[in-house]
């Protein structure tokens, strides 16, 4: 149960990191 909860948090975390890096990429690319 604990492992599943940790895995779900990890999945959400990975999703948010990818989103954040994508936004940073778009900012960098659109600025230059």
């Amino acid at each position: 149960m604990l492992r599943r909860n940790i895995a779900m948090l990890l999945i959400i975390g990975i999703g948010l990191i990818i989103l954040l890096v994508s936004v940073l990429f778009a900012l960098a690319q659109s600025a230059g």
Binding site: M1, L2, R3, R4, N5, A7, M8, L10, I11, I14, G15, I17, I18, L19, V21, S22, V23, F25, A26, L27, A28, Q29, S30, A31, G32
Partner: protein
């Protein structure tokens, strides 16, 4: 020390996953860099590339690499595969949606008759991905047969990735330098390598190590035990509570395998058994199998094992119905090892005649320091034991009052509603969530 390295390995895989997902975005920023465009268009592209990298990595998650599963357990790797695919799907879906919202003219690319090939590849790729995700999430509600779903799942996934790779190649905006092409060539080779491994190499290896059915035994509760012996090879070692993939009525190339818990003792790997309850489709055919029949076994997998928790001062096993099979493997193994630690078995079933392994469990109770509680939903007349469903009050009565981290390791296997209820009850009783281990049948 071993645990430390497993934790490091677990963190390492996660970092590698993030690296492989995000590296295309960093490489795309290397010179020569295409001229910048509007923010939303670049964001759309970034999400598409990250989503595609995740889609290719999905193939590695289900390729059953033991080194990848070791830190987490198979169930968690499949859970991750299933749920991260939703994240990848949303990223990939957002890619065209952003284009449609901020540049409505791009809606014309949906017309497959007039659209260029780069758009056709993208549309069919997204349709494949959408179909695959929806059918996977609602397979059971759609009553879609497991084997058919597996074949379609593989075909749609391969189509989605191949066409998405064709799409980025034809668009050619960010593949404007050799290094960027090498990177995506690497992803394409990785994807093809995974397909080659799972569809050809792995089945070929399994074909070389067949098993013969040595016994087909009917059990109480509509279950059948298959006893298998390796044919011309030593078989594999396994931990009690682990599972393996069984292919009968076909070859490993046909992708007709099913996961089942091993029910025999891990101290006797030369003879392994599976106890399978007839629940429709493949499981119905198990009773029709015969001695001498050739089958193929891919194992062993899973972390639902007492061997993972050598420090425990005792073990609790809570089984519902055919969820008794990994517990039987564990109890038989512990009996063979002369285990002396206290053990508790709480075994819920419909009625007295559904209690698979009833007699053997009673006999194990005499060999081991094992307290056995049978819980019957429909008890016979005069039944003095527990009845109904497993409740918190019942668990409070049966289990010791002391609660301490790492004191008891608790294993639960059975129907999902039972497992949810028992997990919640145990947590509310003060058991440490990290000491509660569940084996879910619905991992695939």
């Amino acid at each position: 020390m071993r645990k430390f390295w497993i934790v490091i390995q677990g963190i390492g895989w996660i970092l590698l996953y993030l690296f492989l997902t995000l590296i295309p975005l960093f490489v795309m920023l290397l010179e020569p860099r295409p001229a910048g465009r509007e923010f939303w268009r670049e964001l759309s592209v970034a999400l598409g590339f990250a989503g595609l990298a995740m889609m290719t990595l999905q193939f590695a998650l289900t390729a059953r690499f033991k080194i990848l599963k070791a830190p987490y357990g198979s169930d968690i790797v499949y859970y991750f595969h299933r749920n991260i695919s939703i994240v990848a799907f949303l990223l990939v879906l957002t890619h065209p949606l952003l284009l449609f919202i901020f540049d409505p003219e791009t809606l014309g690319l949906l017309n497959l008759v007039s659209a260029p090939w780069r758009a056709r590849a993208a549309v069919v790729s997204l349709l494949s991905l959408t179909g695959m995700v929806f059918v996977s999430i609602w397979r059971k509600q759609l009553r879609y047969e497991y084997n058919k779903w597996r074949i379609w799942h593989g075909l749609l996934a391969s189509s989605a990735v191949t066409l998405a790779l064709v799409h980025i190649t034809l668009v050619n905006h960010y593949l404007n330098s050799p290094w960027k092409r090498v990177l995506w060539g690497g992803y394409a080779i990785f994807f093809l390598g995974m397909l080659l491994y799972t569809r050809l190499i792995k089945p070929f290896m399994l074909m070389r190590k067949p098993y013969l059915v040595s016994e087909v035994k009917p059990e109480l509760g509509g279950a059948t035990t298959l006893v298998l012996e390796p044919d011309g090879h030593p078989g594999f070692r396994f931990k009690p509570g682990q599972f393996a993939w069984l292919t009968a009525w076909g070859t490993p190339f046909e992708d007709k395998e099913h996961p089942f818990s091993i029910s025999s003792s891990a101290e006797h790997p030369e003879k392994i058994s599976f106890t399978i309850k007839s629940l429709g489709d493949f499981t119905e055919t198990v009773a029709k199998m015969h001695s001498g029949q050739k089958v193929f076994v891919d194992g062993a997998y899973g972390s639902f094992s007492v061997d993972q928790h050598a420090h425990a001062e005792g073990f609790v096993f809570i089984a519902g119905g055919v969820g008794i099979t990994p517990m039987m493997s564990t109890l038989r193994t512990l009996a063979d090892r002369g285990e002396t630690r206290p053990l508790w078995l709480i075994y819920a079933n419909r009625d007295w005649d559904s209690l698979t392994f009833r007699e053997e469990i009673a006999s194990l109770g005499e060999q081991l320091n094992l307290s056995i509680t049978c819980v019957l939903e429909k008890p016979p007349e005069g039944w003095s034991g527990e009845s109904g469903f497993i409740t918190r009050e019942m668990l409070e009565r049966i289990l010791p009052a002391e609660r301490r981290k790492n004191l008891l390791e608790i294993f639960i296997c059975g129907p999902a509603p039972m497992m949810d209820a028992v997990e919640n009850a145990l947590t509310a009783m003060g058991f440490f969530a990290g000491d509660i281990h569940s084996e879910r049948f619905d991992m695939v």
